[in-house]
Symmetry: C2
Subunit: 366 residues, 2 copies
Amino acid sequence: MLSGPRGGDALDAAIDEHDALGFVSVGCGPDANVRYLTGREFDAHVVYVRVAGESHLRVPSTIDTPEIPGVSVRIDDKPAGKAAAAVLADAAADGTVLAPRTLPHDAALHLESSGYDLVSTPVVSEARAVKDDDERAAIETVQRAARRGVARAAEILAAATNDDGTLVWDGAPLSTERIRRQVNVALAIEGVDAAGSTTVTAGESGDAVVLHPGEPVVVSVQPQGRDGYRGALARTFVVDADGGWERRAHVACDAARDVALVEGTPGADAAFVGSEIRAETAAFGFSPTDEVTRDVGGGIGLSVREAPPLDGDAELAVGNIIRVRSAVSDPGNGRIELADVMAIDDDGPVFLGDPPTSLDPAAWSQ
Amino acid sequence: MLSGPRGGDALDAAIDEHDALGFVSVGCGPDANVRYLTGREFDAHVVYVRVAGESHLRVPSTIDTPEIPGVSVRIDDKPAGKAAAAVLADAAADGTVLAPRTLPHDAALHLESSGYDLVSTPVVSEARAVKDDDERAAIETVQRAARRGVARAAEILAAATNDDGTLVWDGAPLSTERIRRQVNVALAIEGVDAAGSTTVTAGESGDAVVLHPGEPVVVSVQPQGRDGYRGALARTFVVDADGGWERRAHVACDAARDVALVEGTPGADAAFVGSEIRAETAAFGFSPTDEVTRDVGGGIGLSVREAPPLDGDAELAVGNIIRVRSAVSDPGNGRIELADVMAIDDDGPVFLGDPPTSLDPAAWSQ
């Protein structure tokens, strides 16, 4: 069941390994760890405790108490650390308690003053980095919707006409904001949420109000499905490209994207893959420090940025799902960007959906 | 400027009052405090420091470094606490540092081991509770979009036909999911984000797939504008109401909503207003413990739940903007819910936009 709790086994193994009593996580608003561990999203202060092989959730009285299979849910309006200590106290009055290193400080102090020793653990982010089949299917679904969103932008740009140096669509000058809203309409029709992440940028400064032929238009979406999983897709389109800077930058980004498919094998060093993506982009004559993007991606799931990052200290593993991004910026020419989601499968990496990368919106929308 | 940094003066006053060196906040993902203090949203680990009357932001190298007027932005990939300590060290090697009580524990430990004493402060949430004119205007704008979203649901329900006990719209059975997508399309057209918060629920269990006449349908939206500010609007519609339970529950919720306008004056005790909303709902013969909702609302701004909560220890003040919610649930009949956004003005409380509350979708969509 997709929306069910996850991570219990990984937590139990970490608790065993550290000879610990239990594990505590606190969410002070929408929190991807809590969502992973409970299968639900809460926009409130909630406390998750794993102890003796069982999951407990404490929620404030102002939210409706959810029923979650396999999780004991109770109302507790005490501060998070006290609520967590009360759950742990049923098992033991002291002992080691694991927690993410970002546990809120007040909760940590309450737990310590209640007699528990805190040890920080990356176990939840490590568990989240390896997706099961249902999680992968959820990301594939949202990625299909992402493609529909970007296709809508391509459709509009392909239909736009050049009116004396300004692009016109549906009877009015075409702006980045008009495209952004249409992309979000397409995402809503697909049943996914734009998650405040849709951007349509163009022009030298990135904030062109009205679009012009020859200008690279970057369309980037990172929608969220109802189950919380995210997608990521970015494409750059140019209406009536003249084949200059933007063509060369696009070839560089496309080649860099292909590098991810060659290097992103199970066991590969994540930071090496990231540096190869940047090196390939730069190889087409772009400055690694000034023109090639630093953000080449990393794990994607319930968050757009999660483990393993492509600039961090980790090995890629089967089940990782990775946002791959290549981009070149130049103050005089604008920006070219491509972003996709890549799954690390048993037989190697694949781009989910593998949408076309063409600069020409007419080639995309057909 | 709406998207500019806020809260600097409030922080400086709190720093003075505590004879402190500075203030530190850390965001580990989208964080409303960081958004308030910087005017920008970051889906990454960022560090905000206020010291000597100036604001500093430290961001990881994997995100594009934003230019923020009045904020010194630098890249720093060190752990948050170390990055914050490095900023503070330019002013003094020790001293008291204020921080929200939810500061991540690892950052707190780094700061303490660097020689700073941490004192928790509610200053940011207190500053956020009182909106300035630009913030209020932003919430009014998103609330207008919220109304368009709910109006779309009313329009569809008003146009639905009764086909042998099932509602049919646009040639197919009408489901809660079809309405939800159409509501989100309407929000996207208005340029706001559904923020994953649109719910359309009906039936005894709340998850009716296909709708029937006589069934209360709750449409709830909490969209987010591009500047981050949220709206909140919920209405309940019944097609061909028979005037039984749902009519009585709706009268109760509507009366409870009016209570907020009477009691929500500047200086009123927030928890008293909340308890009066619940008491008025119950006065129509509903069980305060089993049928009347516990969530009657509270402050809304960059978060849907912020200060002052209507069940907490605070006085309402001019500039507060409050989500007001009244709801009744019954396992056999479903749920009736109304939610609005109320501004506490100099001359008393007003509902932003004051949308109609009718149960009849035809009355709403006209």
